[in-house]
Symmetry: C2
Subunit: 131 residues, 2 copies
DNA sequence: CGTCTTGTACTACTGTCCTAGTACAAGAGG
DNA sequence: CCTCTTGTACTAGGACAGTAGTACAAGACG
């Protein structure tokens, strides 16, 4: 069963975190067409969040065409995003986790690792964003 | 001069983005003790944001002991965070940017790259967070 | 049909982010 | 002393996130 995770310190609204996690699951292959998401009430109970907040996330996902909400049955993945090929994903994921291990071995803590990654990602986005 | 950047789509409050960018600059060595940050009014004008929003960020930074606000002169970096050694930073940054280039070469777009990185970082945080 | 589960809709309320505008305090420089 | 620049403080309001509670619609199941 797909499981959500929340980061209260990030400042990102709860419903947006949920939306992004489903989108990420689709991109990386954790979620596939036909998969059933946990119910609104289940997620709300697990994350100790108001059901309306979860419903808002599911509503956005349905509006984006990524899921199909069937009243009484649940919410099912229906959309298809450009997914990363499994082999490519495996190779890149392995290399990235190797880099993470090297960073941790060099003595960097979470904050420093995140700072380095964020800086590199921002540069990457800025470079292509200008192109 | 230190420059700020905003990502309106992230959902992260503006003042928090500013705080994190200064903190990141300190961690990675972009900012050093004695450096002068742009004035509240300069940042507000450059980012098209209300001066109070910038002031809130600077206030948080001063409260955290990272900067010293001198009325009439400006805001100066004064705190020292555990900085990543320059050699370590250079090596890790180079390797990470190499990985990014490989990911882009494999046909991944920004969103897919960010998804992969976020997934790996979350796993890393979760693993050490439980320890 | 009746019941259960599920998603959805609605209103009201609280708290936070952000904006807007104004005023004040401190230091530099003429 | 006067002026400029800078950071700070304050009030007021709008927009949005999240909570709380209730009610409704659709399908599955007995």
């Amino acid at each position: 069963m797909f499981a959500f995770r929340l980061d209260a310190r990030s400042g990102v609204p709860t419903y947006l975190q949920l939306v992004e996690q489903v989108r990420r699951g689709l991109l990386l292959g954790y979620l596939s067409d036909g998969d059933r998401l946990p119910t609104v009430r289940e997620v709300a109970a697990a994350l100790v969040v108001n059901p309306n907040t979860v419903a808002k996330a599911y509503r956005e996902l349905e509006h984006a065409g990524l899921v199909d909400a069937r009243g009484g049955q649940g919410t099912y993945v229906v959309g298809s995003i450009d997914r990363v090929p499994a082999a490519t994903y495996a190779r890149l994921s392995r290399d990235l986790r190797g880099w993470l291990a090297a960073a941790r071995a060099a003595g960097l803590d979470h904050e420093q690792v995140r700072a380095l990654v964020t800086a590199a990602l921002d540069d990457d986005t800025a470079r292509a964003g200008a192109a």
